[in-house]
Symmetry: none
């Protein structure tokens, strides 16, 4: 009380209250992505958001809750958005569109961060994981599963297990999103440059899905 001190500070001070929470969330997404939950420092988040440490607590009751809101308000909506745009076309076209849409979503510096987040820290927060699964993954799986099943029914794809295929497709997408933005790309493998990667993924996936070799060839040869 009596030892309280005044804080004369440079008046570098904007007032955008409407924006504050989002600024903080965005900064938090970055920092959590880079350092993980434990490694993320509120000081760093505050700095990147252009606010002070204390300000964060005006909007979020704790570091954990901040993380929670990042998932709720940034990650989930970002993922959920994609599923609505598959539109129509052949099953293969839809798969390609699915891959490219997601990839363009990952085409932001923070993307690797959030993939890492989901890969590695979500499981320490069962409630969040549950929420994330329901809101983001389950719906995506539904859409993807439908496309795959339709492709199989039409003969566009080989007879495959849709559930297994889904996790293969996602593994390829997520992992490369992570690697493509890694501070040291050479770390995990010699890799194709970022821009080409999605082409390789599309190619790999479509080749993996296409019908078994022998379908019609038998016929044309008949020539």
């Amino acid at each position: 009380m009596s030892e309280q001190v005044t804080h004369p500070h440079d008046p570098k001070w904007r007032r955008l209250p409407e924006e504050r929470p989002r600024q903080i969330l965005v900064a938090a997404l970055e920092v959590f992505g880079e350092f993980g939950i434990a490694g993320a420092k509120l000081e760093e988040i505050a700095t990147r958001a252009g606010v002070s440490k204390g300000t964060i607590y005006l909007y979020f009751p704790s570091k954990e809750d901040l993380f929670r809101e990042v998932v709720r308000q940034l990650l989930v909506p970002s993922i959920a958005a994609v599923e609505r745009e598959l539109a129509d076309g052949t099953a293969a076209e839809q798969i390609e569109r699915y891959l490219r849409l997601h990839w363009s979503h990952f085409d932001r510096p923070a993307a690797a961060g959030w993939v890492r987040l989901v890969f590695t820290e979500l499981h320490n927060h069962p409630d969040l994981a549950q929420f994330y699964y329901h809101e983001a993954i389950a719906k995506s799986n539904l859409v993807l599963g439908d496309v795959l099943r339709r492709g199989v029914a039409r003969g566009e794809f080989r007879a495959l297990d849709p559930v297994a295929a889904i996790s293969m497709i996602k593994a390829l997408l997520l992992t490369h999103a992570l690697w493509s933005r890694a501070p040291m790309p050479a770390t995990l493998s010699a890799m194709r440059p970022r821009e080409e990667l999605i082409d390789h993924i599309v190619e790999f996936v479509l080749h993996a899905l296409r019908p078994t070799t022998t379908p019609s060839p038998a016929v044309p040869v008949a020539t």
Copy 2:
């Protein structure tokens, strides 16, 4: 006064002194895998290794160095070992063997941990990442690249970019190793049971690699 006092702690588990460092490394591998570098506590590592906190410092000068040695002495050799056992057979057989050998390596509880480690924390330690890349990844890539190239040359595989294929294959392998051990498997996607996963991976990869439908005409025609 007498210095002949028997320490009454329980000597139920007096380990051979030569084993100490390794026990610590093994415990550290576990703990680092579970909690990440920042989250790992030396106390926990010490407990699991059956030693006291101070003992760790007899062998490793710091937590960071301990992590370094885990990578150096446990991860790298573990990975490197696989490459030597591909033996011969068709390219497809070698790929399958490669996948199954690695998978069996991951068939330990700690595996998901180290995959997570490599995915998420290695890039914060550029020197380690460098070392890891050279010792573990580069060699693996070489071997895998050879197999792929041979497969293509022999017409076993379609015309593909070996470098791209390598990262696809590794993505599938590592990601599923991670997911298959997640405390909450349903979290990230509806997934096939652990035991079947490798079969699906093998199937997916081989289908992705197999020759394009149309090459066959070329050959028969050659008749």
Copy 3:
């Protein structure tokens, strides 16, 4: 643009501006009483006063000064008021009136709070304590001392040390004011219900003051 905007906060309780400082003081008395000086939060005081945190600083330069003013403007006058009403009557009647007047003063929820304040936090503020002593205690002691001395002189009370008796009387009064409002009365001792307490105090005090058993007159007379 127009500065004619009606502030939509709820104007259900627009207080007269002249009342502001007092409302704040009253709220502060409550909150300081409940939580002590360190534990009292300006936010809480502001809320109870129906103003915002910043407003407090329009009237009081700091938390410490606010506390100071609470003592100066609320406690001291409240105590001082009693001394003027003792009126006349026998010494015993005056003592009883003194006790009951004070007790009725304490018959407010906030009373225990300020007793606690005086008991426990005043000594950390020597200047305040000094002020409080001069304004509230000294005068009260004077009055009480006079009554006691008169009682002794008249033979209403036994030969006693007025200074000692004063602190005994005040101890009984203050302590029971504190206990009678304790959130958990049974905590500190099994106690008589609030309403009866003052009767017991009066009885105890008067018995302690009354002349020595053998109003001696009886014996000497026997001569």
Copy 4:
């Protein structure tokens, strides 16, 4: 981790592990007494105990628990001890002994502190208050009640309400223990010096308890 720094400190370092917890408790009793729970700083407790902040956490999981243990291990036993020594004698002698024994217990600098503690902060910790009441107060009340009742039965004391009398006696004892050690004794009232206080208390109490004047009537009337 990498930013970790070494702590070369002066080796002013004793190893009295057996004593540590008690040293800390004693220091905590002091500091809690002086500043209250909220106002007490662990740094200060640590300093007075001659240890560092961190050391406290080797023995007590939190500030709250430390407070809890102070009550449990220091206050309660200290109080409980007295009740066993009342021995026999007339009721008045026992009351006097009760008062003097307790007073001598309070004859330590920290005494005012713990009285303040009990007066002011215990009610914020219902579980502790409960424990304290059962262990320290209830037993004391029982003993004191017995003495009072016996005194009344024997005609040593006037017909009085034992429950009320108990709280009067304790009020006098506790309050003066608090005041007698106040850093500024003059604060609350002009008071008799410490050493005499107990005599005044004994006198006041015994006079309050002694039989009503009128027992004598029997005699004088006899005139």
